[in-house]
Symmetry: C2
Subunit: 300 residues, 2 copies
């Protein structure tokens, strides 16, 4: 049994008591009060994490699940080149869930929040008729006009990605096949995102899979792209890298020179932006259409 709503909120209020000049008032009033930095725009993102859709309690610790729930929001702030400031958590919990699981979930979430200077400033608690549901809002900032959109890619730009792709999707498939491999714990690329703010022409985080997320950049920018299969950092194989998801790496386009490492993270050039609308992948001298597959590909 989880704690009663009032006791749980009181505990959260104690645990969340961090301080930030950006958060004037956190948990405990009708609204949180945030103070935006002068000359900054505000970034807001919401991500809903559902049991048996985004995670399984049997496959990850509660700490890891709390961490991952917040990574999804922080990664969206990273993809705009912003700084994360405050988080809000709406948690729907089944009546039979153990409070120990909730404590672990919050521990994982709050540890990651502290690492990035993010204050848990509010939220809501309800009883879930199904599994655990965590809806997370992250509020961040970027200097006015400097947030990196999906819509800025232009023909001739090169396509880049941070880190490695496909390890998470490969682990999920191995788990479904009964092999007891650990599900990787992603880190939000906030520092890399900020370092890319004046370099990237368009940026997105790889949450649904490279092929789907690159399609989003191309649609919003009105362009196409060609990916060189051999250049994609794909330790688990090219299929997982192209269509897997939950990597939380940054996928971006740029015109000028891009360093090989950004904020300590490796950057790979994997393709180019073209005028013709559509996605293609080049492998062994052939150029084939690349259909946005994404995570759903594996789910069905």
């Amino acid at each position: 049994m989880p704690l009663e709503e009032k006791a749980l909120i009181a505990r959260l209020r104690r645990q969340a008591a961090g301080s930030s000049p950006a958060v004037v008032e956190g948990i405990g009033d009708d609204c949180a009060v945030l103070r935006p930095r002068r000359g900054c725009e505000l970034l807001v993102t919401t991500d809903c994490t559902l049991e048996n859709v985004h995670f399984r309690r049997a496959w990850s610790s509660p700490e890891e699940i709390g961490h991952r729930s917040l990574v999804r929001g922080l990664s969206d702030i990273a993809a705009m080149g912003g700084e994360a400031r405050a988080a809000f958590l709406s948690l729907a919990l089944p009546a039979r869930l153990q409070q120990r699981w909730v404590d672990g979930f919050l521990r994982g979430l709050l540890k990651l929040a502290r690492e990035h200077g993010v204050v848990l400033a509010g939220g809501d608690i309800a009883q879930s008729p199904g599994g655990v549901l965590a809806d997370i809002v992250v509020v961040g900032e970027a200097p006015a006009g400097k947030a990196v959109r999906r819509s800025g890619a232009r023909p001739g730009d090169r396509v880049y990605v941070t880190g490695e792709l496909g390890l998470g999707a490969a682990a999920v498939v191995a788990r479904h096949a009964g092999r007891n491999v650990p599900i990787p714990v992603p880190q939000p690329r906030l520092r890399a995102g900020r370092a890319l703010r004046n370099i990237a022409s368009a940026m997105i985080d790889v949450s649904d899979g490279l092929s789907t997320d690159l399609a989003h950049i191309c649609e919003e920018s009105g362009v196409g792209a060609v990916i060189a299969a051999g250049r994609v950092p794909a330790p688990a194989g090219i299929d997982f890298a192209l269509h897997g998801g939950d990597d939380y790496e940054l996928l971006f386009t740029a015109r000028g020179k891009v360093p090989a490492r950004v904020a300590g993270v490796r950057v790979s050039e994997i393709g180019r932006v073209v005028r013709a609308r559509g996605l293609w992948v080049e492998a062994r001298g052939r150029k084939l259409p690349l259909h946005p597959g994404g995570w759903e590909h594996f789910a069905r």
Copy 2:
């Protein structure tokens, strides 16, 4: 069957296309981009609305349920004396739900948003293993230092409430008893809240019931209060007014003179703030302790 996530987001993006100088970028990127007004602080509130906890599909139309889901957030902005700017909707839908219901829900929500100049700027869609779940975030603004907190009540202040209390709770109880009465559709008191910004010493919205919400003001302010039962605007009886919920009226304390109507809404003086911690109700010459009951009182 509701629409696929992608189709639903595309439809929402078209329907939500309103414009506001506060929203630079709405649905369609990793984050929404908001532009805070100079000299303003930001207000953020989240409210989770669950089927069979906060509403029943058999008792209200989908339009009313969409309206109510947003009222909860707007009412929190009103209770700080703020102006609502943007809303974010995370919606978890059962696989078997009809798209017609979803359309009605969104119609009710977006109509209320437009009436208050609020832009639906983002959200998330997922499949729910249980009933419908709508988590709503509302972002608002208030001039720096002017947001009305729960913590400003002082001994000697008078206690006031807008409108009438208890009609919603009375209707829910009647429905449980099998009587086919309409569930009232509350309106967020945004204009009244702004008008009270320089009048109220502390303010909250009545969402959990007068006794519970007044207890919140008293706890945060370190004071107590005495309510005069005969002065509470209670058309459905004093019990429903004291312990019902979902009224979304404004409960506030003030030192100076308060007009009898604020922004077209009736204001009733219902009690006084005292030094002794605790809540009391005076009725027929007797003073009895008032225990925070709230909506849960009726649920059990």
